[in-house]
């Protein structure tokens, strides 16, 4: 099975610095996922340049199959040298995950990468060798669905030094914290953001070092089948409903008439749920075997708002996403948290309810909304497909 690799990374800069001395590069190519996290010596502009160059060189060369030795040698000859200390230096971690889970890990002086399986850190079989006088560590391991691969810069390990914690956080405590906060359903972004927030808090919002976290979550693909609106020809109703019912993944129905069609054809009762009342989003329904049943256009519009805010937000965007339970929020949560991709099946029949001249909602708007949502999901790393009937 082809696994889905969900990635997320984030940084907080050293207090008062405009530029970050850590850099993360992520490359997805032919089912392979490559990640480099580089930490440039010092901070500010120079560290930023060192880290950017290192990550660029590493990801380009390693993804093309160059050996680690080649990469180190290239770096040594390319990187600018620090005038005072006569060294050019940037530590890095490199992760290559194939879509069958096979993983290659290269670590050069960065804090140990953590692999989390069932909430516990796995002991890694690391191989150590020296290239150009520098200690390199390599690991080969096969990751399974729901494993997390977590890598971070020095700033995480030192979080809290001289502030809340005398000695800083220390690697073992970071691992313990990750283990304690583990939830199977957490997204890569959630854990990444959580770790960064914890660091920021330990630094009392004034980090003493650039702090970066990059996380991959290995996932079994879970595609959402989203049926929006009744098909133009009612002859298609039965076929599409059957496709929905038998779909291997998450099943979502958007639209009042659409949900009635699904209920009628599948002979399953449509219930109206009042658990999560919101003044501006219509209530959701429930049909046995369907993961989510919502109203159509208003809900899709609100859902798009949430997705946009999620995409542009950083801190607190998970809270924003997960804080409400109305139809639009549940739809956005499913698409972001649960699903690795989506298949939108759009019916083009005009909803009689929307032909009311007081409600200027056209089919056009519905199509626009779905394609906007699709684009947004693509940018969030999901695979998206759209079909019309």
């Amino acid at each position: 099975m082809n696994l889905y690799i969900e990635t997320s990374w984030g940084s907080v800069n050293k207090y008062g610095e405009e530029l970050c001395g850590d850099k993360v590069e992520i490359l997805k190519k032919d089912g392979d996922t490559f990640i480099v996290l580089a930490d440039g010596l010092g901070s500010g502009v120079k560290a930023n340049i060192l880290a950017s160059l290192t990550s660029k060189i590493a990801i380009t060369m390693l993804s093309e199959g160059a050996s680690v030795q080649d990469v180190i040698e290239t770096m040594a000859s390319t990187l600018p040298v620090c005038k005072e200390r006569q060294i050019a230096y940037s530590t890095f971690s490199f992760i290559h995950i194939k879509d069958n889970g096979e993983t290659h890990l290269v670590e050069f002086d960065n804090p140990d990468t953590v692999i989390l399986r069932d909430g516990k850190a796995l002991p890694l079989p690391r191989e150590e060798y020296v290239v150009n006088g520098k200690k390199i560590r390599e690991t080969h391991i096969t990751l399974k669905p729901n494993d997390f691969c977590i890598t971070f810069s020095d700033g995480v390990v030192h979080a809290g030094v001289g502030k809340l914690l005398n000695l800083g956080w220390e690697h073992k405590n970071v691992v313990e914290y990750i283990e304690k906060s583990y939830r199977k359903e957490s997204t890569a972004f959630y854990l990444q953001n959580l770790l960064l927030q914890a660091c920021k808090s330990l630094y009392m919002d004034a980090p003493g070092d650039d702090t970066t976290v990059a996380i991959c979550k290995i996932r079994t693909p879970d595609i959402a089948y989203v049926m929006v609106g009744p098909p133009l020809s009612s002859d298609d109703d039965e076929r599409i409903v059957n496709e929905l019912i038998n779909f291997n993944g998450t099943k979502i129905v958007c639209g009042g008439t659409t949900s009635q069609i699904v209920s009628r054809i599948s002979r399953r009762e449509l219930q109206i749920m009042l658990n999560y009342i919101s003044p501006d989003v219509p209530p959701i329904g429930r049909i046995e075997g369907i993961d989510l049943v919502t109203e159509g256009v208003i809900t899709l519009g609100k859902c798009y708002d949430i997705l946009k805010r999620y995409e542009s937000g950083s801190i607190g965007r998970d809270n924003m996403l997960n804080s409400k339970k109305d139809g639009a929020s549940q739809l956005a949560q499913m698409l972001i948290n649960k699903c690795t991709g989506a298949k939108f099946v759009i019916g083009r029949a005009i909803n009689p309810a929307h032909q009311n001249p007081d409600l200027p909602i056209s089919l056009n708007l519905k199509l626009r909304l779905v394609s906007d949502i699709a684009e947004c999901l693509k940018r969030l790393g999901k695979t998206v497909e759209i079909e019309f009937y």
């Binding site: 914290y177 749920m273 009342i277 219509p282």
Partner: protein, 464 residues
């Protein structure tokens, strides 16, 4: 209600006056013990109510002490007896003895039975023991009163005699008082009506006589507070505090440490610091209820500076000092206060980290563990206020039944997308019509549901 007692010395009574006082105390004490023994005859195992007790102590009841001239003390004796019996019934110990007489010793000596040491001790210790003479009310025409002469001297007017043994045909005697500086504070409060004199006791100490006067100070009107101050136990400090605004923002945090003094004095100092902080911030004090809940702060390998007992004592001091200062105090459950994240509300044991640190496993918020408790306390009442009201509903074939337990209100609405709207409208009408009949508790809920945002205050829960 806060009472304060003032002891004031009677200014050098003459020999004859001393004899009068001594005699009055003797008569009172003797009568008290006789009555105490007399009433025992009428008591059963069940404690009598106040009215039953008063019925027992009627005119006939006092016949047994008619030769002692205790008519002026009649009401005081009744009150004094009732108080002692209340203590007896609440403790269920052996029947009280306040005084023993010659006859008791004679009985004891003549007794053939073996006498227990306890009994022997009681009889001898209480032999001719004097009881403070109680005056049960401040009144110029009976019991006792205090007045000031034109020259500024204070006098006590004590009703000590009945018609037969009246002195110079007066049933009272007047005694000058020795008013020390601190006595004058009370007396001037009394004159200006700040406090009210209640009962008083006449006691003898060595060769001097004193009057212990109880004053009642009405509690100052409670100021509406503008903040909350949470007080929790600390790990490195005796106590930690956090001050939160009314909308839940923590404005300041800190610790309270008293290191140079120990025992109850230390706890008093701690409570004074709390009162001071609450006053400065015009804050409602929120403390842990450690008698019925645990704060879970204890952990192997750490010794906490303040024990649960000490915290409870401090809390007790705070509660009465706050009353005097016109401050509000609330005691809330201590459960989870050191494990609940102050930023996101996540509650997990795993949030505790390295003995005295806190890092939330949901949002990453970190802090010193001891500061988490007081911050949570400071915000407790705010969260209470924001809690949503549960409304249960059940979907039937064509209808939805809504039920609001607190108001005992149930209504059936047609099954449609606007059912909840319909429910809210009908609920509001119901409240408007019936609010006068609701209990206080119900009114609190009902008021939340009036107004435009009723929807957002309800948590709809489906029942199957």
């Amino acid at each position: 209600m806060p009472y304060k007692t003032m002891q004031i010395k009677l200014l050098n009574p003459s020999k004859s006056k001393k004899a009068l006082l001594e005699d009055a105390i003797w008569r009172y004490s003797t009568a008290f013990e006789i009555l105490l023994r007399e009433i025992k005859k009428f008591l059963t195992d069940t404690p009598p109510s106040k009215t039953e007790l008063l019925k027992l102590m009627d005119k006939n009841f006092f016949k047994c002490v008619s030769n002692l001239g205790v008519e002026p003390f009649k009401d005081a004796l009744k009150l004094d007896l009732a108080r002692l019996l209340a203590v007896y019934f609440s403790k269920k110990s052996s029947y009280p003895v306040t005084r023993t007489f010659d006859e008791d010793i004679e009985v004891l000596l003549k007794s053939e039975e073996k006498i227990s040491k306890l009994k022997l001790n009681t009889v001898f210790e209480k032999y001719e023991k004097k009881r403070p003479l109680l005056f049960c009310r401040f009144d110029e025409k009976r019991d006792y009163s205090i007045f000031k002469s034109e020259k500024g001297t204070y006098f006590a007017k004590l009703y000590l005699f009945n018609r037969n043994n009246a002195q110079n045909s007066k049933r009272y005697a007047v005694f000058p008082l020795h008013a020390a500086e601190w006595n004058k504070k009370f007396l001037s409060d009394m004159e200006s009506g700040i406090c009210t004199p209640k009962s008083a006791e006449l006691v003898r100490k060595g060769d001097d006589f004193y009057l212990n006067v109880r004053f009642w100070y009405p509690a100052p009107l409670k100021q509406p507070f503008s903040a909350y101050i949470g007080i929790s136990r600390g790990i490195n400090s005796d106590l930690c505090y956090a001050i939160s605004s009314k909308n839940g923002e923590i404005a300041s945090k800190g610790c309270i440490n008293i290191s140079s003094i120990y025992g109850l004095n230390k706890l008093h100092s701690l409570s004074n610091e709390i009162i001071k902080l609450a006053k400065e911030n015009n804050a409602c004090i929120i403390m842990e209820n450690l008698s019925t809940s645990s704060d879970g702060l204890k952990m192997k390998g750490i010794k906490l500076p303040l024990s649960v007992g000490d915290y409870n004592k401090t809390a007790f001091f705070v509660s009465y000092k706050a009353e005097l200062a016109g401050l509000e105090v609330a005691f809330v459950s201590a459960n989870s206060i050191f494990y609940r994240c102050t930023r996101c509300g996540n509650f997990k044991r795993a949030n505790r980290f390295l003995k005295d640190k806190f890092i939330c496993t949901m949002c990453g918020h970190s802090d010193n563990l001891e500061e988490i408790g007081s911050s949570n306390l400071a915000k407790t009442l705010i969260t209470y206020k924001n809690n949503k009201i549960p409304v249960y509903y059940k979907t039937e074939e064509n209808s939805i039944i809504f039920r609001l337990d607190i108001l005992d209100y149930e209504v059936v609405c047609a099954k449609s997308l606007s059912a909840a709207n319909e429910f809210c409208e009908r609920l509001q009408k119901h409240i408007a019509l019936n609010i006068g009949n609701f209990s206080k508790h119900q009114q609190f809920t009902a008021k939340k549901l009036l107004g435009e945002n009723a929807f957002s205050k309800i948590n709809f829960i489906e029942i199957k």
